[in-house]
Symmetry: C2
Subunit: 148 residues, 2 copies
DNA sequence: TGACAAATGCAACAAAGTTGCATTATCATT
DNA sequence: AATGATAATGCAACTTTGTTGCATTTGTCA
């Protein structure tokens, strides 16, 4: 996990953010984790690592990082919010297995979506700031289990 | 609201469902309301109409109607689930104003999404059962307010 | 009408997230 | 290095959204 120290410090510098314990650990966790994490995932991970972090602080820090555009939040069909590092150069969507809850990233050709956003602007007067697109289904493994 | 009686009765007949108070009121409300409603919206509406309906029963009935495919649930960026009448012949998505929370329906050309689903099947082995696509932005009115 | 499954209502619970407030840490400036 | 402004923290209590178990009632069909 050490290898993210540089990255985190450059994020903090770029956004003029103080280096605090929770912020650092949170970024480390999200950079290291391949898939979106919920607040409770994060709290559990910290507990497992015997890092004492406060629930309120984590929620507040997540909000803060969202406002800074460093992370984004998404919904994956359950009642939680999930968070992941925002990668503006590489916007992606998710494939969620309804059975085993496994999440995979998927690249979607955005041009079609952009033209839909343009259509919304023309027809409805809406300016679109972001969109969410997630696919729900069954992964390879769960299809086999289902069909038995 | 009376005009939906026929529709509801045909839904109940088609799905072999008992005609119960909560089920009837719920369908009436969702048919009549132009936009997706959350459980709390629904409970408030009933309260306003002085209809005594039970929270647990409403949640259970919503689940039931989803399992029957009569309604669908969606997420609109906050922590709630929203429900609307499923219209299989006319699948649509939503435009949500981040400021005033107004929701508009939007038709999206589905062919592109279907080809993405096909790609997911080929590349990742996922079979896609449904997708969610919502656009977030500012409606005409809120753009003006923002820019003042 | 009577049987039986389906639906209901209640109270208690659970998970996710929020608020107010007093305290503490960080960091630029001296 | 000391200082002071501002940002971050921790705690407890709270809110919202949704769930569960269980005893009771209702709707439907033979």
């Amino acid at each position: 996990m050490k290898q993210y120290t540089e990255t985190i410090q450059s994020i903090l510098r770029e956004h003029k953010l103080r280096k605090t314990k929770t912020r650092f650990l949170l970024l480390e966790l999200l950079l290291q984790s391949g898939e979106p994490s919920s607040a409770s995932d994060i709290l559990c991970d910290f507990l497992r690592m015997r890092k004492s972090v406060n629930k309120t602080t984590v929620y507040r820090e997540l909000d803060h990082l969202i406002r800074e555009g460093i992370i984004t939040s998404l919904h994956l069909g359950d009642r939680k919010q999930y968070y992941e590092i925002a990668n503006r150069s590489h916007h992606h969507h998710h494939l969620i297995c309804l059975q085993c809850k496994q999440i995979e990233d998927i690249d979607v050709n955005e041009t079609k979506l952009l033209s839909e956003e343009e259509k919304a602007r023309c027809e409805k007067g809406f300016v679109i700031l972001r969109h969410s697109l997630e696919f729900f289904g069954l992964c390879k493994k769960c299809q086999i289990i289902e069909s038995v």
